[in-house]
């Protein structure tokens, strides 16, 4: 291989990676410049142009890919202007998918609680579907943002933002007094109704001008579940009273809240699986479906609570150090 051929190969390689518009012109310019460099170098070294010299010159020039890249402006799939928005939306989409994952898991557990094998196979199948869904969504999002960036030529101008318009910092532990009291009263009413005035919980109707009533709850439900439900409600009432007296949530009360929630979810699960709650069966099935949704939301909320508690406990403020003793 002689110097000329090395040059030809190099120029061809750089040309491959160049945009079509520039290609021929840049290649011609490179050829002229490289040849001149080579000749000057040879003259300086006092020898003829040969392959080794060409290798040195080309090495110094740089790798074809790198050099070709320098002829173009920085290229992004999704540039800095839109990447933050992309990430935000990606997070939202993937949280929804995460919720679906949770729902699918709970569903397969409930439907196939008898056989672990069946539950597992249902779960695996829904997982595979979910993975496909996740990938498709990701790709779609990338394509959308790819297009948006290139179509929207409007540069993001620094508009006059107002520091006063910033949202207030959330204090999760502050309580809304009115809301708390309202919730408390409601719970007391529920407790009383279910325990002392079960007759009120019925469907009232008129036949032949006479008021009749049809008890809403089944006897089994009343006997087996209402006591436990009442206990849960009692605990919740006590907790709320304490928090109301204190004025805000603290770690112990948060933990108690978490405990009651978990127990409540377990109870809900049992109810869904076991009994008929309401006497009309179609109504019952309808309610059961609603309860499953409530259960799923409840589990998600529990996870969020746990996450919040953990981050609170390991935050730098919690791991407080004592000030230096003089």
């Amino acid at each position: 291989m002689n110097a000329q051929e090395l040059l030809d190969r190099y120029i061809h390689e750089v040309g491959r990676k160049l945009p079509r518009k520039l290609r021929e012109d840049v290649k011609a310019e490179l050829r002229s410049l490289l040849e001149e460099t080579l000749n000057e170098r040879a003259a300086q070294a006092g020898r003829a142009v040969d392959a080794d010299l060409a290798v040195d010159v080309l090495r110094e020039f740089g790798e074809p890919d790198t050099v070709a890249l320098r002829y173009q402006p920085a290229q992004y799939l999704i540039g800095p202007a839109y990447f933050p928005a992309f990430l935000t939306i990606l997070r939202i989409v993937f949280s929804v998918l995460g919720a679906l994952f949770l729902a699918a898991t709970i569903y397969s557990l409930i439907q196939n609680a008898n056989s672990l094998n069946a539950a597992l196979s249902v779960w695996v199948e829904s997982m595979m579907n979910l993975v496909g869904l996740a990938l498709a969504n990701f790709g779609l999002l990338v394509v959308i943002f790819f297009i948006i960036e290139r179509v929207d030529s409007r540069q993001k101008t620094e508009s006059k933002w107002n520091p006063r318009d910033l949202p207030a910092v959330e204090d999760h532990d502050k309580i809304n007094r009115a809301e708390m009291v309202g919730g408390l009263v409601f719970l007391i009413v529920l407790l009383a109704a279910f325990n002392f005035f079960p007759n009120l919980l019925s469907f009232f109707f008129i036949t032949d001008g006479v008021w009749g009533r049809w008890p809403a709850l089944t006897e089994t439900f009343r006997q087996n579940f209402v006591p436990w439900l009442s206990l849960l409600w009692l605990a919740e009432i006590a907790l709320r009273a304490i928090v109301l007296a204190r004025g805000r949530w603290r770690v112990p009360t948060r933990l108690a809240e978490l405990g009651i929630n978990v127990l409540g979810l377990a109870f809900l699960y049992q109810v869904i699986r076991a009994a008929n709650i309401f006497t009309p069966s179609f109504f019952d099935s309808l309610i059961k479906i609603g309860l499953v949704v409530v259960l799923i939301i409840g589990v998600i909320e529990c996870c969020v609570q746990v996450y919040r508690l953990i981050t609170r406990l390991i935050s730098p403020a919690a791991l407080s150090f004592h000030p230096q003793k003089r």
Partner: protein, 119 residues
């Protein structure tokens, strides 16, 4: 401030320092190139002109830079045959002249400030 500025990346012990150093020179490079293009130059003569003043620039960096500056609308160029060889000559256009003056003035202010900062 006339010392050798080699642009061949050195894979030294401290890679981070090399990267930061490269970042530092990248900004200087454009101003250096613009300063020489008040007269017509082609790639190789530009490299020599800068080298004579003590600024060594990688050819693989310099030539693409000339193209980019032209694309950005600061230079005008044309092909000419000199010494039996086709060459692409570059020169500052009106926008380029204006930009160069602004950058050169800013540079001086920057250098003065940096001298004080680094004291």
């Amino acid at each position: 401030m006339r010392h050798m500025v080699k642009n061949i990346p050195v894979r030294g012990v401290n890679g981070l320092a090399d990267n930061l150093d490269l970042e530092l020179r990248r900004g200087v490079l454009v101003l250096a190139v613009l300063s020489q293009l008040q007269d017509e130059q082609y790639g190789y003569s530009l490299k020599k002109a800068l080298s004579d003043d003590g600024l060594e620039i990688d050819e693989g960096t310099l030539y693409p830079l000339l193209r980019r500056l032209e694309t950005q609308g600061l230079l005008k160029s044309n092909w000419r045959v000199e010494d039996g060889r086709p060459r692409r000559y570059y020169k500052l256009n009106a926008d380029g002249e204006r930009t160069y003056r602004v950058l050169a003035a800013n540079w001086q202010a920057l250098v003065n400030a940096m001298d004080r900062v680094l004291k």
